[in-house]
Amino acid sequence: MNIKHTVIQRFNRVISRALLAVCTISLGMNAGAEDLDDVDQIVQKANLAAFYSGVDGRAETRMQIVDEQGRKQTRQFTILRRDHRDGGDQQYLVFFSYPADIRGTLFLVEKHPGNDDDRWLYLPGLDLVKRIAAGDKRTSFVGSDFFYEDVSGRGITEDHHHLVSTSDQFYVVQNRPKDSINVEFSEYTVWIDKQTFMPMKTEYTDNSGKIYRRVEALQVQIIQGFPTATRMKVSNLRTGGYTLNEMRFIHYDMGIPADLFSERSLRNPPRQWLKRPKPAN
């Protein structure tokens, strides 16, 4: 009974995935024909496309952090992610492998959109599990120009959204923070790809109306049917510094268990999930 049920479920999933693919393709071909005009719907779709692909996912990431004088730092890490539900709570486990001073450091996040995230850091040299104040999500992620929010997403209810224009390629959405005290921008504008709903470019404006920060998706690849920003760049236009981010060996829907995102994995990094899997079909 159970087995039969599972088979039917799986069959249904395959069918719906196939239908979805067909729909996506036809949508893509008809792009521009049926523009969305509900900005909330656009923002919601963009949020899902950028941060909620699949039920779970894994990626190996490399960052190059370049300062205003051209000096470079590198960060390499593997990210495991699991969604409780699309658009809702998520779990992240980040395992750093390079450079040597942070090798073996792990970062565990329970993300609660609209609320403070729970964050832990494991320092292997001291065998120390440190809890980190959720505090400022708009603070540098491991020294890079990426903010925590760029990595795990900004709650879509935290801004007022306004659809500025719709071109052949993009929905251009302007966002003003509901709570302007805790953010460093006065507004930001996002160019959302009409076909994939990937945010392709985001520009942040300060109080004087000047653009001082830019986040770009420089390469988007379709992986297991999900458009994925595999190359990104964050530019600090005030200093001239920037960070490049490249993701590879990306896999979705691996069946990562929820209890993997725990103190156990901090002390004993889950090798089974961190090691590079065989290429997906």
């Binding site: 190996e60 490399r62 190059q64 952090i65 300062d67 000096r71 470079k72 730092q73 590198t74 390499q76 593997t78 492998s97 390079y98 450079p99 040597a100 001073d101 090798r103 403070d116 729970d118 320092l123 040299g125 001291l126 065998d127 120390l128 599990v129 809890r131 104040a133 400022d136 708009r138 603070t139 540098s140 491991v142 020294g143 890079s144 120009d145 390629q169 460093e184 160019w191 392709m200 470019k201 770009e216 998706a217 420089l218 390469q219 190359r231 760049k233 530019s235 490049l244 490249e246 590879r248 060996f249 209890d259 103190e263 156990r264 002390r267 004993n268 090798r271 089974q272 090691k275 590079r276």
Partner: protein, 459 residues
């Protein structure tokens, strides 16, 4: 001869620092990234900006492949100098060493062997030491349990440089001399078993042979001696009755812990000995490690924009249960409450209030041969940690301070570290002790004020 070695090490430190400066100046690593300066909008960006092939020769690729083991480690030169000329220590240097570390993991299925080994040429003690820092097998006997057998670093509890329920060995000599923070935790030869359950996880640590702290002996740092009622240093060597390596001298530590919502609770137990020789045997005039049990609990979680932690522990002095023995410490309550918050971007403030309250205090005073040098009934301590990260976190400023208003002493640790590149970094700092009395907990260290500098290359 000793002077020569010290000079040599100082020279090495300066050389390393210069090298790291030079390497930073020409930090042109192989350009895997061909970083584009183009601010082209996304729709015109091409893949030409990023070379596809470069991941192939990346060290990470090798590391990620199955069963590959890689050697890592560091080379470090450190030098530290006492600031006061009246410190009775034999040397006027607090740190003078060249250290090399090698580490690797070997996997056998899910089981792995970890090895971290140090070689240290130490001009303060005139020794060349090779030591295993970590050397253990990590096994998962069942899907819900892990076991670590061998030499390992053990840490639990919620305090920041304040330890209530963490009775694992600490190396205070390393801490005071400005070595890397990881050396505050000394390794223990232990078996750790962890059992993961939905209601509560269980941690059980058995240290078959007692592992004491690396406490102050007078060799590297001076301290207050009640015998002479003065700040002293070796020689003469501190006469301590060491614990023999028998199983009856083992230590047992237990922790039950779990999360409820955003909050982490834990209860702790410990059976063993005072980690420092706080007992005195008038028969042979030697110090010894009295028996001790510890019971405690902690809670940690978000409050407002920060993280709050609180912890309680009862240190039961087994050999002086009613406080009548003047040569063995009385039992003690310890209480901690702390809060950490990011004040503004990259500036973090951590505050802690820590209480040590002696049980049967009147008994202690009545029996004490020198009641005026005994610690206060309640020793209040406030700690402040300020951390500021700047220049893409390459430069970190930090200040940690302990202050006891009623014991009238303090300890300040200012430090700054700079990462020149992914490999090279430099750290400098100071250990400053202030005290009204030479016998108080921190005041006895007041002649040990020192500054240090360390240059590290990690690979």
């Amino acid at each position: 001869m000793r002077f020569f070695r010290t000079t040599l090490l100082l020279g090495a430190t300066i050389l390393c620092s210069c090298l790291s400066l030079m390497s930073a100046a020409q930090a042109e690593e192989p350009d895997h990234w061909s970083a584009t300066e183009s601010h082209a909008p996304s729709d015109t960006a091409t893949t030409d900006d990023w070379t596809q092939e470069d991941w192939g020769d990346d060290p990470w690729t090798e590391e990620s492949t199955d069963n590959a083991s890689q050697w890592h480690g560091f080379i470090e030169a450190g030098f530290g100098q006492f600031l006061r000329s009246d410190n009775p220590t034999e040397k006027n240097v607090s740190l003078a060493e060249l250290r090399a570390r090698l580490e690797n993991d070997w996997y056998f299925g899910e089981t792995y062997l970890r090895l971290k080994a140090d070689i240290n040429a130490d001009a303060v003690t005139d020794t060349l030491d090779a030591s295993i820092r970590e050397g253990f097998f990590n096994i998962s006997p069942t899907s819900k349990s892990d076991m670590r057998v061998g030499r390992q670093i053990l840490t639990w509890g919620t305090g920041d440089l304040v330890f209530l329920n963490d009775l694992f060995p600490k190396d205070w000599q390393s801490f005071f001399s400005g070595r890397d923070m990881e050396y505050l935790k000394a390794p223990a030869d232990a078996i750790r078993f962890t059992w993961y359950q939905s209601k509560a996880n269980l941690d059980l640590v058995w240290i078959p042979f007692f592992e004491a702290d690396t406490y102050l002996t007078g060799e590297r740092f001076s301290y207050y001696s009640p015998m002479t009622d003065s700040i002293t240093a070796a020689p003469p060597q501190l006469a301590v009755t060491q614990k023999s390596n028998t199983l009856s001298n083992g230590e047992l530590a237990i922790r039950l812990y779990q999360n409820i919502g955003n909050y982490e609770w834990a209860v702790y137990g410990y059976q063993g000995f005072y980690k420092q020789p706080r007992g005195f045997n008038p028969v042979n005039s030697e110090l010894f490690f009295p028996k001790m049990n510890v019971f405690g609990a902690s809670l940690r979680g978000p409050v407002g924009p920060g993280i709050m932690n609180t912890e309680l522990a009862y240190h039961q002095s087994k050999q002086d249960k009613n406080g009548s023995d003047p040569w063995v410490p009385n039992s003690e309550w310890r209480f901690l409450i702390g809060y950490e918050q990011e004040l503004i971007s990259n500036l973090t403030l951590g505050l802690q209030y820590y209480l040590e309250q002696i049980v049967d205090y009147q008994q202690l005073l009545d029996q004490s041969p020198a009641p005026n040098t005994e610690p206060p009934h309640r020793r209040h301590t406030v700690t402040v940690r300020l951390t500021y990260r700047t220049m893409q976190e390459k430069l970190r400023w930090s200040l940690f301070s302990f202050y006891s208003p009623n014991d009238k002493d303090a300890y300040l640790i200012p430090s700054v570290s700079y990462r020149y590149s992914d490999g090279w970094s430099l750290e400098s700092g100071a250990n400053i002790f202030i005290g009204d009395h030479i016998y108080s907990f921190l005041g006895q260290l007041q002649k040990n004020d020192n500054i240090y500098i360390r240059s590290i290359y990690r690979f």
